[in-house]
Symmetry: C2
Subunit: 310 residues, 2 copies
């Protein structure tokens, strides 16, 4: 009998889940809506129903562990705690509910820490004991791994690199403070940068013709050689590189792995980030830390990360 893991990714809108084999292949996959359930209990019941319907009995029988990536998921307690983008408020005893329903040991974590586990088990961090995973999506998340273990911290919520102050008294962040890394280096942050550039600079650029600019538009403009788009990536890479250099001084990782929408801009974002990081590193860390893209498919990482929780 093969041994499988079930990875569940709870997003604000949809919950996707899949059965993962030992090589990191998702052998079966399904999803339900996260919304419209009266309670966490009915949500978990609906999840179990779809699980039984979608997957062969052989696969189900082979599942030995369940991992869940969820916003504000706490690894220690197995709870979701006060997630702003879910319909259920307060503390949800998610691991307990899932274990009761599925009869399998269940771990819960937030998305970025799960992604770090996925990268370590199946992706670019295989064999590494010390690395930093940075997810550059709508927000900026991170998972720090040291001595082969994710750093969850005393309360289970460690790894909030997106809320390190990158620019003192800088841009207003949704968290209520100013200058957080994610206000500059998330998909939404870099779009803010575009509008700042367009306001202060009258050059012609394809970006000026667009409405509702997205991170993808900046990438497309950079591919056309647009100078402003390249400067925007440079500006973003500078702020990211400076902040990463400080993170390196704390945990001295073997590698920093970038993942998410902005990381898909490839060299346009990797090169300035790497250069500014190196420029800002303390001498003992120079030319030691690899800055690399994730090896996992964007569509797979959430399930793989959740499945890798242990």
């Amino acid at each position: 009998m093969s041994r499988f893991r079930l990875g569940i990714d709870i997003g604000g809108t949809n919950t996707t889940f899949g059965i993962v084999d030992a090589s990191g292949k998702i052998v079966a996959k399904s999803s339900i809506s996260t919304r419209g359930h009266n309670s966490p209990e009915t949500f978990v019941a609906a999840l179990f129903e779809e699980y039984k319907k979608a997957f062969d009995r052989t696969l189900q029988d082979g599942v030995t562990h369940i991992g869940v990536g969820a916003p504000n998921g706490n690894y220690y307690t197995g709870n979701i705690e006060f997630a702003p983008n879910l319909e259920w408020k307060g503390v949800i005893r998610l691991a307990e509910l899932i274990e009761a329903q599925f009869q399998r040991p269940t771990k819960v974590s937030n998305d970025a820490n799960a992604a770090a586990m996925g990268e370590m088990m199946y992706g670019a961090a295989q064999g590494m004991k010390d690395f930093i995973m940075v997810t550059l999506g709508t927000g900026v998340g991170s998972g720090f791994v040291a001595n082969g273990q994710v750093i969850y911290g005393h309360d289970g919520f460690a790894g909030e690199l997106g809320h390190v102050i990158a620019v003192r008294d800088g841009r207003q962040c949704g968290c209520g403070r100013k200058g957080c890394l994610e206000t500059y280096t998330s998909a939404t942050g870099i779009v803010k940068t575009v509008y700042e550039f367009l306001t202060k600079d009258s050059r012609a650029t394809p970006l000026r013709e667009k409405q509702d600019i997205t991170a993808k538009d900046i990438y497309d403009a950079a591919c056309l050689g647009d100078a402003m788009a390249l400067e925007i990536f440079d500006y973003t890479g500078k702020i990211l590189g400076q902040t990463l250099a400080d993170a390196v001084a704390i945990t001295s990782p073997e590698a920093i792995i970038l993942f998410g929408g902005l990381a898909q801009a490839g060299d346009y974002i990797m090169n300035p980030t790497r250069n500014y990081m190196e420029e800002n590193l303390l001498h003992i860390f120079k030319n030691k830390v690899k800055l690399i893209p994730s090896l996992l498919k964007e569509s797979d990482v959430a399930i793989l990360g959740a499945a890798a929780l242990d």
Copy 2:
């Protein structure tokens, strides 16, 4: 037979060492000069000679482990690597030399990581699995502990909080970069602040009468209620508190333990540091992280920290 540990602290000038019992008491202590030895080999031979002379045979026989705190000491290799303030250049295979001479398993680390171990085994961090030790001395060092283990990082040199950029383009640091935390919050950093304040501000203050101001003079002035001295502690605590708030976002510690000359200023430095840290913390970390002074005696911590290495 009691089981003891030998802790050795190699400083730029002196090497002190002591036998530590299981309760964290230094039961015997001695020292030799770090300088004036032709080679690391003759230094270790001199250390062994003094060890045999200074300590009872019963104590020697009870020693089961040796730990060494040394500048640029690398936990993984047991080597001292390119320490700027020692006479021996390059890479010194210290653990190997000591093991050969003393016939005991030997671990090497830098001073701040050793201090973190000492605090965990004998001091304020007993029972904690996640904390940050910050040493505010001539420089600023730190040891980060997560999941009950010191974070040494990929290369053995993690924990350089003193070289996180606290003020972008700020004061020139000895490391060649600008604005490192230690240029503001070390004993020498706070003295720089005094001279800046005295230059830009013509108020009367006992500090103006002093030559070669030290951190102790600032403390003494604060005790007399001197407004400028209090503002200097506030300024220093602000920079330290802001930087600690960012470190908390990464490792989410149960406590941050302050040690060293500046920490001895007690509430004058602890209160502003705590207030600015809280003000700058991401909401999920507010009112969770203890900021506390070390419980170890200044004169003991280097030996206790070294002895605690494992």
